[in-house]
């Protein structure tokens, strides 16, 4: 089958050759491509036959060598055997060449497409530009036309303006001439009018039939009662004199007013000067920097201060006035410069301050920050070292676990200790409680016994009294008996209060919690039956007993946590009431 494979391949080689050749003349490529398949088919059928193998071989080797590839067929060995390796290599090279050719072809095609599209685009743009050119040309001609028209307009307007100006000039001339004519006419008319008036006047004066006339019944005297004077030069002079007199008086008045005003103003000036002097002299010591400048001023000031006293004397002297104004002017200038200087200083200071405050604040901020940072660092270091030291200390005798254990141990120990103490205290409390109960019981018992004893005594006294007198009362000896019994009870109660106090303190300190409630409640419960346990004496003293019961019941219903105290208070109170009752009864 190598034959067949060979058969297939040569056209390809040919193809490659053709393409590689045809690569250069690009316009021909299209036709060669189109002819390629035909060519191939044709070649398959006609190029190599059984007969012309040798020729084909030589042809191909020639072709191959022309392509710069190693020859496929070597005749040196004498054998006409084909070198398969060389052929295969050649084929491979040819394929490679072919592929490369195809790739270049593709590239070329793409490029061609690109360039063709480019060309199209360029053509389009060129047509557009041509159109634009056309348009702008048309526009240009339009504009030129307009410009020409405008220029024409301008020219016409200029002409108009010139005409108008001429017109204005003409009109002005006309107006001027008319005005002058009018004035002239006016004058002429006025003259004429005057002439007419004159003539009329003359005519009227000359006219006889209706003359001006005054018809007075009798002449009246002058308002001032004087007679009218003849017109003489003397009167003329007098009139002149009077006129000037009035004028003079008017001027006099005005002068006086002005004088007053001037005096006022001068006063103000003097005051101002004084103030200025004082201000300038006071600022003197404060401003050291321009001492040299102020030295001569100081001298002047002193001189002026000295002068001012004199000036009041020669106030109206021109010289003095000049001096005053000059000095004021001078001082004013100084004051002005001083104020300006102050202003400048103030502004400078302000600027400086504003700058400084900013800068300083920032600086201080930074400084402070640095300082604080440093401090923090130091503190941190401190803590670190402390930690380290602590750890060292802890780790040196035991390790950490041990330490924790130890601390736990300590805690436990402490707890246990506290618990023990608590227990002992509790026990003590219980003992105290018991003792107190015993005491109360004893007291109750004692009171019962006393009552019994009193009863006994009463009966005894009754008997005795009955024995002594036939109408004796039983109350009196009973009273005396009860009194004595009460006395005893009082002492007993006081005695009982002493241990109570002892009890009270631990109970308060140890158990303010409701835990103690069950402890105390049975005690009261016990107290109740104990009270009830003596029924034999109830008949003798029922009132007091019920009172006691009531109290206790109240006590039961009361606040439980505060029971202890209540109880104690109650005890005290009851004892107190007892004593009170006793005293009242006595």
């Amino acid at each position: 089958m190598p034959e067949s494979s060979l058969d297939i391949f040569p056209p390809k080689v040919k193809d490659i050759c053709s393409s590689s050749i045809e690569c250069r003349p690009s316009p021909l490529r299209q036709s060669s491509q189109s002819s390629l398949p035909l060519h191939r088919n044709y070649m398959l059928s006609t190029f190599c036959t059984e007969k012309n193998v040798q020729e084909c071989l030589s042809h191909i080797s020639q072709e191959v060598s022309s392509l710069g590839l190693p020859p496929v067929w070597m005749e040196s060995g004498g054998s006409s055997e084909m070198n398969v390796v060389a052929v295969l290599n050649c084929i491979y090279d040819l394929i490679q060449l072919h592929r490369r050719g195809l790739r270049t072809l593709e590239n070329m095609e793409v490029e061609q497409l690109k360039s063709s599209s480019n060309l199209d685009y360029l053509q389009l743009t060129s047509t557009q530009l041509k159109e634009q050119l056309e348009l702008s040309k048309r526009e240009n001609t339009g504009l030129l036309e307009r410009e020409r028209q405008l220029q024409l307009k301008v020219k016409s307007l200029q002409n108009c303006l010139k005409n108008e100006k001429e017109e204005v000039q003409k009109l002005q001339n006309i107006i001027a001439s008319r005005a002058s004519q009018y004035n002239h006419e006016m004058k002429r008319k006025e003259r004429e009018f005057n002439k007419l008036r004159e003539r009329l006047n003359q005519l009227l004066v000359d006219k006889k039939e209706k003359k001006q006339a005054i018809d007075v019944l009798n002449n009246i005297g002058r308002a001032d009662g004087k007679r009218s004077l003849w017109k003489t030069e003397k009167t003329e002079a007098k009139h002149e004199g009077e006129m000037y007199k009035t004028l003079l008086s008017d001027y006099d008045i005005r002068q006086r007013e002005l004088l007053l005003e001037n005096a006022e103003l001068k006063k103000v000036l003097q005051q101002m000067k004084k103030d200025m002097v004082s201000i300038l002299s006071s600022k003197k010591p404060t401003l050291k920097d321009d001492q040299h400048q102020d030295d001569d001023i100081q001298a002047d000031l002193e001189e002026e201060v000295f002068d001012s006293s004199k000036e009041s004397v020669e106030l109206y002297c021109v010289h003095a006035r000049e001096k005053l104004t000059n000095s004021i002017r001078l001082q004013w200038r100084r004051l002005k410069s001083h104020v300006e200087r102050l202003d400048n200083q103030a502004s400078l200071a302000q600027i400086g301050r504003s700058k400084n405050t900013d800068a300083v604040s920032r600086e201080t901020h930074e400084e402070e920050m640095d300082r604080l940072k440093l401090e923090i660092q130091q503190c941190k270091d401190f803590i670190q070292t402390q930690h380290q030291l602590l750890q060292q200390q802890l780790s040196s005798p035991y390790d950490e676990e041990k330490a924790s254990l130890l601390s736990d141990c300590y805690m436990l120990q402490e707890k246990e200790r506290f618990r023990d103490e608590w227990k002992t205290l509790e026990e003590q409390r219980k003992i105290f409680e018991r003792e107190r109960r015993n005491f109360t019981e004893a007291a109750i018992r004692l009171s019962h016994e006393r009552k019994a004893f009193e009863d006994d005594r009463a009966t005894w006294l009754k008997h005795q009294f009955l024995n002594l007198s036939p109408f004796a009362d039983s109350n009196k000896p009973q009273m005396s008996k009860s009194k004595s019994a009460f006395l005893i009870s009082k002492t007993e109660a006081s005695a009982a209060s002493a241990p109570e106090k002892l009890i009270k303190r631990p109970s308060d300190t140890t158990s303010p919690t409701p835990r103690c409630v069950p402890l105390t409640s049975p005690s009261t419960a016990e107290l109740y039956p104990t009270l009830c346990l003596v029924p034999e004496n109830r008949s003798t003293k029922p009132k007091r007993l019920t009172e006691h019961v009531e109290e206790s019941s109240n006590f039961l219903n009361g606040n439980v946590p505060a029971q202890h105290k209540h109880w104690n208070d109650r005890e005290d109170h009851s004892s107190h009431t007892l004593t009170k009752e006793k005293t009242s009864s006595i």
Partner: protein, 458 residues
Amino acid sequence: MNFSEVFKQSNQLCKVSPDGKYLATCVQYRLVVRDVSTLQILQLYTCLDQISHMDWSSDSLFILCAMYKRGLVQVWSLEQPDWHCKIDEGSIGLVSSRWSPDGRHILNTTEFHLRVTVWSLCTKAVSYIKYPKACQKGIDFSRDGCYMALAERRDCKDYVSVFVCDDWHLLRHFETETQDLAGLEWSPNGCVLAVWDSCLEYKVLLYSLDGRLLSTYSAYEWSLGVKSVTWSPSSQFLAIGSYDEKVRILNHITWKKIAQFEHIATINNTKAVVYKEVEKRPAVGSDDLSLHNITIGTTLFNTQSKYEICPPPVQVPVVKPDPDRANPKIGVSTLAFSSDSRYLATKNDNMASVVWVWDMQKMSLLAVLEQTSAVRCFQWDPRRPRLALCTGNTKLYLWSPAGCVSVQVPTEGGFQVQSLNWHCCGETLILLGKDQLCLCDDEKIGGNTPLQILNFTC
């Protein structure tokens, strides 16, 4: 405020004697003299024709009645009722007649201003002054009665003649630098004469009594100029009102402008108080509009009015003058200083319903009184800073620095106040209607009159 009954008068001829004791009124051809306090008729004189002008002599002894149509002047004496004097100007005519300050001479200006005839009642002597100028104010007497200034026109030039009124001696005669002199006025102290040109040129000239030109003032050129000039009673200021709607104040030392008051239609000045008169028509039922009521008239058409203070800015009604007509209704035509020279009241002609009051100490606008109708007349109280004005309706308006008040004139027959005059004592006002007059006695203004009440409401 007390109002007297209404009296008849004609031509608004009604004057109080300079001494303030008598009131002279003209009714057609009769002259009635009344006592001001009792209004009893003291004298009744009958003239030869309808009186067109009437004036008291300075000593209140004589009354002059001029009948211009007839060219006649009749003088009556109050002391001697049967004394009479008749001056006939003859065919030369008469346009103006006035007393000389001494009250013994009468100056008659003849028709066409041919001359001024000076008649002496003492000697029957007559003297003539030729070439008087026909102008706005061509003749003025100084306040002390010593001098008379007269504007003259000779050879198309303006002159001023100063006469001594005592014997009509010509003291000074000088040419003025005016195109067409329009008026002259003595300063109240009689030492300066202000002369102003016609409205075609803004020019004010100040002459000393001896004829020296003290100063010339011109604010602008070309447009219409001076419309009115007034001296302050202190002779300190000269107020010039002009067609540009401004008042300029000159001082008496340098004769330069020291202030300028503009009459602007929109008042933005927050320091000025703007009083606006507001009318309230009393509610009238349709039944009341019967013929009977209309004939009775007065109460129906009388409207209540009061002043309201408007906060600035205030727009003042302005009437645009017709530019084609001569003497356009624009510019400051009326100026009046209060008796203490403290206030200046002005009226701008194109804001006819507004009176402006300026403070001369602060040189600023103090108050604006906007009336519902055009202001006819205003006059300062001769004693106090108090301004009375009327607008041709049935009300009298008073302004004082304390406030502003409108008073209804309580008379029958619709008395419409056309003009008013203060009595020289400043306590009585004479209100003049079309052919009636009424005295308004406001003695109680110091007491409990509305003006006082307004002080509290303002």
